[in-house]
Symmetry: C2
Subunit: 402 residues, 2 copies
């Protein structure tokens, strides 16, 4: 067990401790603990202390965290509600993904004088909602079971897919200077096939696992087999070009208590196994999920941002685009006005997919250093502010008060 490189244990110890400490302190002041975790990342990372640098190991642990979170969210999806909200969610997702692209393109092209590709990258960065942050906040507030929350979740998943689809096309466009309808269609087909196949695979695996548990009384198989399945689905999703969190999410769906495959209504995972699964997922989530949000904080270097007035106005304008475009998307949903606005608010935080856009923009030379800083700033700003707005809005309007 000896010999070199053990600093990583100290780093993980620090991250786990600070993330929970900040999370709990923030919680006590009514702030979602996810923000405390991002702040822990800012404190440990290059922005403040500079003790911890993002690396491959921490990245993997943070991915495990987001995979567990999305699996858990899938596990809790209520299909009866989803059936009723499907079209609503789709409307929110499509409007909420394309509006930021169009408005962002406009700002880039006409206010900042960028090229077409760069302008589309600016818009694309603002297309996808961060499922992780939004749903974590709803979960912490105990609001996941409401219809509006289910629409938000479904819409966030759909616009993540749209975001990745857009990224794939734009990236190709940036590389070759041409748009290839063929590969976009092929990509869409892959993702679509995955979305159909994954729940079946997960469902069969769930039934097999449940059989082993009941037949041999060996409940020790649950934890390793469950994680194995999660990681496999995440990998498979990534392989077909979808975000890996989509794989984890579909896996969770297949295990959820209300999941049924048409015509095989009689086969369901036993309630005892499901209880055990929940008992396994919870401690794993408490350890790994904060790692993801700490990692978001680690990846930001506030010191690198060279603040000028010009950048500041662009930042404000793009933040406005980020807020307004999602806000508008919510209005087209059926429901009370309070619900509509809340859905728009909840779609505001950008996260993983947005950061990937920014990163690819920088790597391919489309974004220069200052544009890169501004775009990261906008993504971070939406992530920081939206939870406060959501909380404030809920308290103010008495939404979900029943």
């Amino acid at each position: 067990m000896k010999g070199g490189g053990h600093e990583i244990l100290l780093i993980i110890a620090l991250i786990l401790f600070l993330a929970r400490l900040f999370g709990s302190i923030f919680s006590r002041f009514g702030v979602p603990s996810v923000i405390g975790e991002i702040v822990a990342g800012l404190v440990l990372g290059p922005s403040l202390l500079g003790i911890v640098e993002p690396n491959e190991v921490l990245k993997l642990l943070s991915e495990i965290g987001i995979i567990l979170l999305l699996f858990h969210i899938g596990l809790e999806v209520d299909f009866d509600i989803l059936k009723k909200t499907g079209i609503q969610a789709f409307i929110v997702a499509v409007i909420g993904a394309f509006l930021p692209v169009i408005l962002g393109y406009g700002v880039g092209r006409y206010f900042m004088g960028l090229s077409d590709v760069a302008s589309l990258f600016v818009g694309g960065t603002l297309a996808a909602t961060s499922i992780g942050i939004t749903v974590r906040i709803l979960q912490e507030m105990g609001k996941m079971k409401y219809r509006a929350s289910q629409i938000i979740l479904a819409a966030a998943i759909v616009d993540d897919i749209l975001g990745v689809l857009l990224l794939t096309m734009l990236y190709e466009f940036a590389q070759n200077g041409t748009f290839q309808a063929f590969s976009a269609a092929r990509y869409s087909m892959y993702v679509f096939t995955f979305l159909i196949a994954a729940p079946f695979v997960a469902y069969v695996a769930a039934m097999a696992m449940d059989f082993v548990v009941k037949r041999y009384g060996d409940h020790r198989v649950i934890a390793p087999f469950l994680l194995s399945l999660m990681f496999f689905l995440a990998y498979a999703a990534e392989k077909v070009g979808a975000p890996e969190i989509l794989g984890a999410f579909t896996g969770g769906l297949a295990f959820s208590r209300r999941f049924r495959i048409p015509f095989v209504r009689n086969f369901r995972v036993s309630s005892l196994t499901l209880d055990r699964i929940e008992g396994i997922i919870e401690p794993l989530m408490l350890v790994f999920t904060p790692m993801f949000f700490v990692y978001v904080g680690l990846e930001i270097n506030l010191r690198e941002i060279d603040f000028t007035w010009n950048l500041f106005w662009i930042f404000l304008l793009l933040s406005l685009v980020a807020f307004v475009s999602k806000g508008i998307a919510g209005i087209f949903v059926k429901g009370s006005m309070a619900e509509r606005f809340f859905i728009g608010l909840a779609m505001i935080p950008r996260g993983e997919v947005g950061l990937i856009f920014v990163e690819l923009g920088r790597m391919s030379g489309i974004f220069d250093a200052s544009l890169y800083a501004v775009m990261i700033g906008v993504v971070v700003f939406t992530t920081f502010i939206a939870p406060f707005m959501m909380r404030f809005y809920i308290n103010r309007t008495g939404l979900f008060a029943d």
Copy 2:
């Protein structure tokens, strides 16, 4: 979340699945599942399929596994039994650590014609028992609570420390050609200080955690704070030159139900918190601990061993040394003859510290390729065979039958 390097998720999925599958199958045939897990490593690793290679990420996950295991073992230590077995365990450890070194040195020096240093490395490889494997077997058989098992555990911990101490001295000797009593004394002092200080630190942390849980009703702090403490203690142990598993073990001790610091008898971690801790540790262990044993299998490449008769006899002779030296150590313990032999048997499996000896021997040029192969062979052989012997012996003699 996208972009490169996601094969690792597939690899972890494969490892988790196969380790549990083999573990459960082996279990059903009465073989400890730890052997199934090592076999899973041999199958996935360079020995058979060659799909998975040892790497830094898997190494970290396997370390987390062994840290969790040792913490859990510490948690279950019964201090009343340990108080009664302290001297007995010390005798087993000292004899069981020095006898293999002397006998191994003799074989190396006079049968194989090796240098003094190389001969001492041969002996040193056989000095330390693998706590992980031995205790895992006892745990799986539900025998941890017996006096003999407590002696075995304590002796394995002490001889691990002796093994690492020996390694530190020998390594320095190999590098400089001189033995430095000063640095050995300093090292011993560090480790001793750690052994005194660590349980206090862990105890204070445990009390603080328990206070937060009760005062704020926030039980979400338990899982992250507990792992943070474990990793910190593992890191601190490694920092003072002790094996990191020692840190995890002392941490577990401080949380155990029977742990008391003199004069502060009234402060104890509440039973509710301890129940929660056990509920958290179990799923984490089921996921991570097999990773360690799979990693042991991954690190072995059976194909690299060039089998000749000469090597075979040396292998047999050293295996005999490995078996006999530990077997003799058990005889000096008080108790029934059956107990004495069993203690000797249980001390046979070599593991982590032995493999570190072999690795350092190879890296510093003391072991050539064939000697390296033989030494790994002996370590693996003891690891494979001892569990069968332990099982057979228990069934045959009816030990622990009460």
